[in-house]
């Protein structure tokens, strides 16, 4: 199989053997490509004595820690070829990742995203309700991963309607109008996990308002950190939302700006799935050796999409558990897993930082 052939079939049909063969061959090509075109990447391969190595299995590929993209501008293409620069979310004091896309990578990313999203949303574009404020797109200062995420997913819907006003309050009038207009049709709802909980669900609950969104599919992303702090897990999230809105078709998705093409959508069974174009390996938190199904470890992600920058094999700072491969009850092939959160931060040590560390804590 090559990429073109994979783009012509459903993204969740390859079995383990075929998928490994496809990924291994593509990732070896990408490793060579980045080594030839990104001097920093070449230095790293050299440091680990990996120059001129052909890797036989996915576990053997050298991974870059995802934080490296915050420290260095890594690219494997000429500056003139860059058509899009993406940055990760982060507060002003934090460093952000910078990811550079050329035309080829951006096009491939779109194609892969389409394949994956169509598997869940169907081929026709649905009326789309976005649980956010429209001003997120206008305000250049606010425009970051959230804005980019909304824009990216907007292509899968039509009649884009924003459910929140500038004060982050639910605009009931707009929602009613939207629902009246699309009565009887399936609706696509998208938003960030925390925003949906904090500004949508909580307001509905406080105001004791029940909406009828039962004929809709909700896709959300952005991570669980803030919700875990409030002791809200995925199950609670789903049950609470169904009670207040009637939505039953709810899908989380996991991905990161540093690796285009890695979009892991949650299936009906509550598992995140790797498509043909990407994969996950769970590694031991201390030894970084690959772990078996059922063991919690650090998530490594692999994708055949990154061509303009060396982000095809990355070690994240997220923790998860591999749940199985090829045998999920939802019928999709490939590895499936769950994400448990982020790695705890390292303690600040040493004799430095009489003031600075405290400062950081206060902010």
């Amino acid at each position: 199989m090559n990429i073109q052939e994979c783009l012509n079939i459903d993204p969740y049909v390859l079995n383990k053997e075929d998928k490994q063969k496809f990924l291994c061959s593509e990732l070896n090509k990408l490793t060579q490509l980045h080594m030839d075109n990104c001097s920093e990447y070449q230095s790293i391969l050299k440091a680990y004595s990996y120059l001129d190595t052909t890797f036989q299995s996915l576990e053997e590929f050298p991974y870059l820690p995802v934080r490296l993209f915050k420290e260095y501008e890594l690219k494997s293409c000429e500056d003139e070829e860059i058509i899009k620069t993406m940055t990760s979310s982060g507060t002003t004091s934090q460093k952000v990742s910078k990811i550079f896309l050329d035309k080829e990578t951006a096009t491939l990313q779109t194609k892969v995203l389409v394949k994956i999203m169509q598997n869940f949303l169907g081929k026709t574009r649905l009326p789309m309700l976005i649980i956010d404020t429209k001003s997120i797109l206008k305000d250049r200062k606010m425009f970051s991963a959230r804005g980019a995420g909304i824009l990216g997913l907007s292509t899968f819907g039509r009649k884009h309607t924003y459910a929140l006003n500038e004060k982050m309050e639910i605009d009931f009038e707009v929602i009613q109008q939207f629902l009246d207009e699309h009565k009887g049709q399936k609706v696509f709802i998208f938003g960030f996990t925390f925003m949906i909980w904090q500004y949508f669900y909580m307001q509905l609950k406080e105001k004791n308002i029940v909406l009828d969104l039962s004929n809709s599919i909700l896709i959300h992303s952005g991570g669980w950190k803030k919700l875990i702090d409030q002791s809200v897990d995925n199950k609670t999230f789903k049950q609470s939302l169904e009670k207040q809105t009637g939505i039953r078709d709810i899908h989380d998705f996991y991905g990161m700006v540093e690796q285009v093409g890695s979009v892991f959508v949650e299936c009906e069974e509550g598992h995140l799935h790797a498509s043909t174009f990407s994969d996950v390996i769970i590694r031991d938190k201390m030894t970084l050796e690959p772990l078996a199904i059922g063991e919690e470890g650090i998530i490594e992600v692999l994708s055949v999409v990154p061509r303009s920058y060396p982000g095809h094999v990355l070690l994240t700072e997220d923790v998860g558990i591999l749940r199985g491969e090829d045998d999920c009850a939802c019928g999709r092939k490939g590895k499936y897993f769950t994400v448990n959160g982020r790695l705890a931060k390292a303690e600040i040590r040493g004799c430095s930082d009489t003031h600075t560390s405290d400062e950081r804590e206060l902010r």
């Binding site: 920093e40 230095s43 790293i44 050299k46 440091a47 680990y48 004595s49 870059l64 820690p65 934080r67 490296l68 420290e71 260095y72 938190k285 201390m286 030894t287 970084l288 650090i298 070690l315 700072e317 790695l343 705890a344 931060k345 390292a346 303690e347 600040i348 040590r349 040493g350 004799c351 430095s352 930082d353 009489t354 003031h355 600075t356 560390s357 405290d358 400062e359 804590e361 206060l362």
Partner: protein, 402 residues
């Protein structure tokens, strides 16, 4: 802001009132330090903290008497008296430094105000409990108006007030902290001591190591010098320079790292967390990018080795501690001193004679380096630190002419 001792704000003002100093090494001072030591040594809860035990041993009467002897020798026929009020800004992450700093200043007769971070820390809390308990005793009445212990985070107003009162200000590092606090003025007559971010490395004579029969003794000492304080104290060993012929260096490195690996696998330093493992991976990649560092794979996640060309490539900013080692090789000792910046504090050595190192320093006259100690003593505190003799710095010399 919390005032740990004494228990009211106007008492802090009391400390700041100009008053006579106490005679260096007076009985009341030595008794107090020894009392604190006894308390720590007798209390079983302290036993689990090796740094506190080391501190308690340092404070024992026997050792204080040695310090007194040193001080008297130094004084000779001169007159050394305390400067008055010393304001110490202690680091938040090495818990015992504030005691060393304060007690050295106390022993020569100064009043002291100690700023400790408000960050919660069991060891600091335990220490403060003992200190307040002993200070409250009637026999230490004279000290009660000469000690202030304050916990606060980032508060320029407090720092500014105390800086105006102090005769000596002591800032225990972080370069950025020092830079910031130096924008806050001190009295015209005041002096200042700063302890900046510094780095330390080991030199090992490969031939001696190859012939070493009791390697485990060295390994244990090396382990303590590196893994305590997460390898992030200024005097923690972070790089190793192997001195010898090519063959000896190869053989010594093999022997040493194998032994250390075996020892570390038994110790399993639990303070190293998965986040540290990721940090070390980032450091390896960054070192590859910035310094052409080459990674030597080990069988344990607790040790990460990066081969560099020479010490000038030992990028201190990228070093994250917790078992990360830069290493390079040289033919002879004189090469070691070619790349010594102001940022280097301690050389920990193995397989060299003290006299040889002394002569090498005299000959090469390096720009940096404050301290040369055998491996195993890197973290041992001394009254001479970062090139200052603290007794001298905490005193004024009074000249009496005839």
């Amino acid at each position: 802001m919390t005032i740990v001792f004494p228990q009211s704000t106007d008492s802090i003002e009391n400390i700041c009132i100009e008053k006579r100093v106490i005679a260096p090494f007076s009985d009341v001072l030595v008794d107090f330090v020894d009392d604190v030591s006894k308390h720590i040594l007798n209390e079983s809860t302290f036993k689990q903290y090796p740094e506190l035990m080391a501190l308690a041993f340092w404070m024992r009467r026997g050792h204080i008497k040695k310090l007194q002897y040193y001080f008297m020798q130094k004084q000779g026929t001169k007159l050394l008296l305390g400067r008055g009020i010393v304001f110490h800004l202690a680091p938040s992450n090495v818990d015992t430094i504030f005691i060393y700093s304060w007690f050295l200043s106390l022993l020569v007769g100064n009043s002291n105000i100690v700023r400790i971070s408000d960050k919660k820390n069991i060891q600091t809390d335990l220490l403060l409990k003992v200190l307040t308990l002993i200070l409250q005793q009637h026999k230490y009445e004279e000290l009660q108006t000469r000690v202030g212990i304050i916990r606060y985070g980032h508060d320029d107003e407090v720092t500014s007030y105390l800086s105006r009162m102090a005769d000596t200000r002591v800032i225990w590092g972080g370069d950025r902290t020092i830079e910031h606090i130096r924008t806050i003025p001190i009295k015209a007559t005041a002096t200042e001591l700063t302890f900046a971010d510094k780095f330390s490395f080991a030199i090992i004579d490969s031939k001696t190591l190859c012939e070493e029969k009791k390697l485990m003794l060295l390994i244990k000492k090396f382990y303590n010098d590196t893994f305590w304080f997460g390898q992030m104290a200024c005097s923690s060993i972070r790089s190793i320079v192997w001195v010898g012929s090519k063959e000896d260096n190869i053989q010594a490195k093999n022997k040493f790292w194998n032994a250390l690996e075996t020892y570390v696998k038994q110790q399993l330093p639990e303070e190293i967390t998965p986040a540290d493992i990721i940090n070390k991976l980032v450091a390896e990649c960054s070192m590859a990018i910035e310094q052409d560092g080459i990674v030597t794979k080990m069988d344990t996640p607790y040790i990460n080795r990066i081969q560099i060309e020479d010490l000038s490539q030992a990028n201190t900013h990228l070093h994250c501690g917790t078992g990360l080692f830069y290493e390079c090789e040289v033919d002879g000792l004189s090469e070691v001193f070619q790349h010594i910046s102001k940022k280097y504090q301690t050389i920990a050595y193995y397989g060299f004679e003290k006299e040889v190192l002394f002569a090498a320093l005299q000959q090469t006259l390096p720009y940096g380096i404050d301290r040369v100690v055998p491996i195993g003593k890197s973290l041992e505190f001394s009254h001479v630190w970062d090139g200052y003799d603290l007794f001298e710095s905490f005193c004024r010399e009074v000249e009496v002419w005839s």
